[in-house]
Symmetry: C2
Subunit: 151 residues, 2 copies
């Protein structure tokens, strides 16, 4: 269970966009964040379709963060589709099926899904960026305050 590059890039792009003032072009953003340009473009387009960023075409155009209330969950959903950790044996709604073990497993995974959603919905990009100063301060402190085990 690891996060996709798409989601990772998207998250970073969103965070970065949210603290910019004017529109930022995909190219510029790609450089700032070290993300392959064409790939980033695709990501931004997905984010636009779900209203998380806005775009303006033409010279001096680019992408703007549109919705500071958007949560990390919203972004992940936009990029990787609905997060589904469980399903039924048949694949389609042929329930109830005859596999009790399957059913209990699904029950667990569903609870997990709910927890994940809860956690990620509570974190808005706006809030993340408010933490910026605090975080930067921490970074300037000694090693101890850094994120632990960042590989």
């Amino acid at each position: 269970m690891k996060i996709s590059k798409r989601a990772y890039y998207g998250l970073r792009a969103a965070v970065s966009l949210a603290e910019a003032d004017g529109p930022v072009s995909a190219r510029e953003l790609a450089e700032r964040e070290h993300i392959p340009e064409d790939f980033l473009e695709k990501i931004l387009q997905k984010l636009r379709k779900t209203g998380i960023v806005e775009s303006t075409k033409g010279v001096e155009g680019g992408y703007t963060f549109a919705n500071k209330a958007a949560s990390v969950w919203d972004i992940l959903k936009s990029l990787d589709g609905p997060v589904r950790t469980f399903s039924s044996p048949g694949g389609k709604g042929t329930l109830p099926c005859d596999f009790p073990s399957h059913c209990r497993t699904n029950d667990v995974l569903r609870r997990l899904e709910i927890e994940i959603e809860k956690t990620l919905s509570g974190m808005t990009i706006g809030h993340l960026n408010e933490q910026l100063t605090t975080h930067n301060k921490q970074r300037e402190d000694k090693d101890e305050n850094r994120i632990k085990s960042c590989e």
Copy 2:
């Protein structure tokens, strides 16, 4: 973010093994749970290496559930390796790096990781199987009590 078949199968196998009395052979278990036999064997071997199941060779041998205190988290870790949702740009511990957006993103993902671990560690296979009767009863009730949106 979806769960792998390996993990899914493993979970189901564990739940099923835990309620059996004697050792169950891979073949038998594969039939019971509708899992490809050779693949299941691999899964069980991983689970053995982490002490979740035990095996006895030879005729009348098979796999036994070894540790009722094992949690869903333990099983997932055994099968898919450590669940890592975040990392540093360089990949190795060349920190601190120069990408504040990256850092905040990691911070979020790390919190998520913690939530997931917390949720899944709290669920032991023993506990899951205690719920069996309750759950089966629910299944026998009308549709309303089934897991919602099991596709």
